[in-house]
């Protein structure tokens, strides 16, 4: 036990000498969170211009409807009508400073009143199909509200909704939990790098390889410390989210640590193994960090895996992050105990055990070979 403690202290001292790298789990993740918050956290209303040629009142009524129809995405109107003249509007549209132009014809009110096929021209941006889709389905929201506003006969089917929480969880929060898991993953990987890269640079790996004792004495403290620091980075990130977005797992933090810790153990072994296989340790390090980044993007980092199962590629299912991210969202954002907690835990344990077994096998063989 005393030997283990000495090794722990030695590893910890190595860690203390490279604080910038120890921040590897925080710095890139913080940049990514800020970037996504800027992307999707601000006002996302589509700026448009409305050219109202209507001789009657309905044109103005339609313009007044735009700010009243609120999107659940950001609690802002779907459209922001810019006060532009016709020439300014066309120029702005051509330079993509506005998303679209609605043109209300002069006989709009007259046709509504007399029931003669009223229509509106909608010029809109379709440089990507998602944006074009939004224009089409947002316009339906506007017309739905407008019909009610002008008192047309009731729709044949009314619309109602039920959301399981009093307040809706926003998209940036969903992404932020993906980033928490990325932070634990990168934290674990980077800390493993510090602990092993220095050993490689100082040729201590030679001593390790020559050691008459089991190499588990060397690998266990590294794995435990890297997992611990991975969890510390993840917790720091959770605090950032608590302050910024207001979510905190409360009494469920132990479960969050357990799930995230098992994911970290998997990646730490991957990093260690690749680092040693690649001879040039940094190559393995870079490979595992960029691999973890890719898994973040394809394995539920940006949206809930359960709600988009059909869009998750089979490769993503080969990594524990894809299984772990939604239960963590349940615990942190929705404050509910995940219905699939134990099945997920078993899967994550399986990933961790297999990676530790394979990782140790490869690492020990490599270290002994190097000697």
């Amino acid at each position: 036990m005393h030997r283990l403690w000495i090794l722990f202290k030695t590893e910890f001292n190595v860690w203390r000498h490279d604080p910038i790298t120890a921040m590897g789990g925080i710095i890139p993740c913080l940049f990514i969170l800020i970037a996504f918050a800027l992307l999707f956290g601000g006002r996302l209303s589509f700026p448009i211009a409305v050219i109202n040629n209507d001789r009657g009142d309905y044109g103005n009524l339609l313009i007044e409807t735009f700010p009243e129809v609120i999107s659940p995405l950001d609690n802002q109107p779907y459209y922001e009508v810019k006060p532009l003249s016709e020439n300014q509007a066309w120029k702005a549209f051509e330079e993509y400073r506005i998303e679209g132009i609605w043109i209300i014809p002069e006989d709009f009110s007259e046709r509504i009143t007399s029931g003669k096929n009223p229509s509106i021209d909608m010029h809109f941006m379709n440089y990507n199909d998602d944006r074009a889709k939004n224009h089409r389905i947002y316009s339906a929201e506007i017309l739905w509200a407008f019909y009610q506003e002008i008192g047309l006969s009731a729709p044949p089917l009314e619309m109602a909704e039920q959301y399981p929480l009093p307040e809706m969880v926003d998209w940036v929060s969903i992404i932020s939990i993906g980033i928490v898991l990325l932070s634990v993953t990168l934290g674990g990987i980077f800390n493993m790098f510090i602990l092993t890269y220095k050993a490689q640079m100082g040729k201590i790996t030679l001593e390790m390889g020559l050691s008459p004792r089991s190499l588990a004495w060397v690998l266990v403290p590294k794995t435990v410390l890297a997992t611990f620091f991975g969890l510390v980075t993840g917790t720091i990130f959770l605090v950032i989210i608590r302050v910024w977005l207001g979510f905190w797992p409360g009494g469920n933090i132990g479960a969050v640590w357990l799930i995230a810790g098992l994911v970290a153990v998997f990646w730490i072994q991957v990093a260690l193994t690749f680092g040693l296989i690649a001879k040039n340790y940094m190559a393995g390090a870079i490979g595992s960090v960029l691999g973890a980044m890719i898994v973040f993007f394809i394995g539920g980092g940006l949206s809930m895996v359960r709600a988009h199962k059909d869009a998750v590629t089979w490769i993503a299912w080969l990594f524990p992050n894809t299984y772990a991210v939604d239960p963590i969202r349940d615990l942190v954002l929705f404050n509910t105990w995940p219905a699939d907690f134990y099945p997920v835990l078993l899967k994550l344990l399986g990933f961790a055990v297999i990676s530790v077994l394979l990782g140790s096998l490869f690492s020990v063989r490599k270290l002994r070979k190097l000697s």
Binding site: A35, L38, L39, Y96, M159, A160, D330
Partner: protein, 354 residues
């Protein structure tokens, strides 16, 4: 010129000291694009609908099929179910609420973006029914899209990843190799050699430029093969990317010289590459997001580069509000960082104090 050529050869030989790092830095964005293009957001959404038992329910199902793009895909793929529980996503059930036939959409634990998308699709379906009932009184939206077809998101996403590929390769390899010189002690050679520091830096940057362009070519080819969309001028693409690669090379070299350690310099290259990609119009043109985002995005070199690339992928359509300003901005960044890299080289490599 001969000396420069020898320096350049020596720089390229450094590939042998870190072949895996080179391969990862060059191929990673392409790999990421291939994987993400599979899961990329598509306009067609599955919507679970409880098997209707009424006539209005069947009419609703017919209306659902109508929602979509006239020049593209349908927006709803109905999935008929018997269970009215929302599960992990949602379910729509046709009920009588307060004696009114109602389409009730129950959501699971999902986020506001998914709620928005599902709500919009339901509203669009119900509007189809309402318009049928209104007959000639119903309002028709005549659509005039900016481009003749709705372009798949994978095209924009791939185009916006090309600057990431260029930046990542230049910054990461530049930072890593520079830091390696300090770690392995070969930096002493630079200090002692009688060659001008400018020539050494020029060789380093030229080599990074060529390496980053290789990363660009790989991603560009993949984008073209996946989407069938090619730039109208390949040469223009390379010219537009050149200032960004110079900027990335300078940032990488500075990180390597300042930290003198491979891991932190890699960290700086990684964090800046992904932050620049995300903030620099990586997911959509900056003008399409919030005004605050757009202002910040315009400070990032990726945004003007993407706006300049845009016409070459999108039928010559311009989106840059200030094309000359964007060019000047890129030139300004390139010149400033080139000067900074020279100063840092003097301070960290040539200085007698280490």
């Amino acid at each position: 010129m001969k000396r420069f050529s020898l320096l350049l050869q020596s720089e390229f030989k450094q590939f042998l000291t870190a072949p895996v790092v080179h391969l990862i830095a060059i191929i990673q964005p392409t790999l990421m694009y291939i994987l993400m293009s599979v899961i990329m957001v598509v306009p067609t959404f599955e919507m679970r609908i409880v098997n209707p038992s009424s006539e209005i329910g069947n009419d609703f199902l017919a209306a659902v099929e109508e929602v979509g793009s006239p020049i593209g895909p349908d927006y709803i793929e109905p999935v008929l179910v018997d269970d009215a529980a929302p599960g992990y996503r949602q379910v729509v059930e046709i009920l009588e609420i307060g004696e009114k036939p109602t389409a009730l959409q129950r959501y699971g634990y999902i986020d506001s973006n998914l709620v928005k998308n599902l709500r919009n699709r339901l509203t669009a379906s119900l509007l189809v029914l309402w318009n049928i009932e209104l007959g000639d009184q119903g309002i028709t939206i005549q659509e005039y899209p900016w481009l003749p077809n709705d372009i798949p998101y994978t095209v924009y996403f791939g185009m916006a990843m090309i600057p990431l590929a260029a930046y990542l390769a230049a910054a990461m390899i530049g930072g890593y190799l520079m830091a390696q010189e300090f770690e392995s002690g070969t930096i002493l050679t630079y200090r002692l050699c009688p060659t001008s520091p400018l020539l050494i830096l020029a060789a380093k940057i030229t080599r990074l430029l060529i390496t980053a362009l290789a990363a660009v070519v790989i991603l560009y080819g993949t984008l073209g093969l996946i989407t069938g969309v090619w730039s109208s001028s390949f040469l223009a693409l390379l010219i537009i990317l050149t200032p960004l690669i110079l900027i990335a090379s300078c940032i990488g070299l500075i990180a390597g010289m300042v930290t003198r350690s491979a891991l932190p310099s890699f960290l700086i290259a990684l964090a800046s590459a992904f932050a620049f990609w995300l903030i620099g119009s990586g997911f959509g043109l900056a003008a399409g997001f919030s005004p605050v985002f757009e202002k910040i995005s315009r400070l990032i070199p990726n945004t003007p580069v993407i706006e300049m690339l845009f016409p070459y992928f999108y039928f010559g359509r311009q989106v840059a509000a200030h094309p000359l300003g964007a060019k000047l901005q890129l030139a300004g960044y390139t010149i400033t960082l080139s000067l900074v890299v020279i100063l840092v080289y003097r301070a960290r490599v040539l200085s007698k104090e280490r």
